[in-house]
């Protein structure tokens, strides 16, 4: 029976570094552990995928809307001031969650299904969700939170 309970911050951070270095920044060192608790997400955008573990689990990314815009620009190799469409942000931020989810899934001992990614300004993980792990990172000095839940 697969669960995400054994997936720790070290593993999540390593996956995050690989994803950002290879596909978003195309260089290393721009994603770092967040220092202290001073970095908070004030205008959150959530992206998530659910995994068919028992019980079911969720990989959720949270960042500020403005940071999601800049993530999208970086992912698509756009200029810093280039306008970015909301649909592109939803697609790009969702795809980042999808890549994370697939790599987390690959750590599990058994095959589980992965849902298609979803993106919302409303948190998808309500009172019934149980937080298993939270990894707080800083991308170019701005907060990115990676959370694993059972749902």
């Amino acid at each position: 029976m697969s669960t995400l309970a054994a997936v720790d911050t070290v593993a999540v951070t390593a996956i995050a570094a690989e994803v950002f270095d290879a596909m978003i920044d195309r260089e290393s060192g721009l994603l770092t552990p967040a220092s202290g608790t001073s970095m908070t997400v004030t205008d959150p955008l959530y992206a998530w995928v659910d995994l068919g573990t028992v019980p079911a689990s969720r990989l959720q990314l949270t960042t500020d809307v403005g940071t999601a815009d800049d993530l999208t620009r970086a992912f698509l190799s756009m200029g810093e001031a280039e306008p970015v469409a909301e649909a592109d942000v939803v697609d790009a931020f969702g795809e980042i969650a999808n890549v994370f989810g697939g790599n987390i899934k690959a750590l599990l001992p058994e095959h589980v299904d992965l849902t298609l990614p979803e993106v919302s300004r409303q948190s998808p993980s309500g009172d019934r969700a149980v937080l298993l792990n939270e990894t707080r990172l800083a991308w170019r000095g701005r907060p990115l939170v990676i959370s694993l839940y059972t749902i």
Binding site: M23, D91, E95, N98, L116
Partner: protein
């Protein structure tokens, strides 16, 4: 050479198409396996298809199996481009008829390396 990029994420379609364009491919895009099959059935021809696994409507594995079931598409080279990194899933993809496999995240060099192994790099990129 012509390549078809099949992914429900338009971000990934654009990124993979850009990578292939840099390598000298003319690219087209489809948002799922069904859309890609329709393009093939309409007579469009490609040397390579880069196929995501997890897509709505028709996923990558179904697409690979459908292509392999048709004799007239037997020359199409298929690369799975996906997050499905489990060994069992790799075996499933190759058994279904995929030629190679690239796991997200990947770099342009990683994709070029796979294409080189398949003899699919345009001549100037192979030198």
């Amino acid at each position: 050479m012509r390549a078809l990029v099949i992914d429900d994420s338009r971000t990934m379609r654009r990124i993979v198409a850009d990578m292939l364009g840099e390598l000298g491919f003319d690219t087209s895009q489809a948002a799922n396996g069904r859309e890609a099959l329709d393009m093939l059935a309409a007579g469009e021809t490609f040397d390579l298809a880069c196929v995501d696994w997890n897509m709505p409507v028709m996923d990558g594995l179904e697409f690979v199996a459908a292509v392999r079931a048709r004799r007239e598409w037997r020359d199409l080279t298929l690369i799975m481009v996906t997050t499905e990194g489990e060994q069992g899933q790799v075996v499933r993809a190759l058994a279904a008829g995929a030629h190679e496999y690239v796991m997200k995240p990947f770099t342009p060099d990683a994709l070029a390396s796979k294409l080189g192994l398949l003899g699919l790099l345009p001549a100037e990129e192979s030198i």
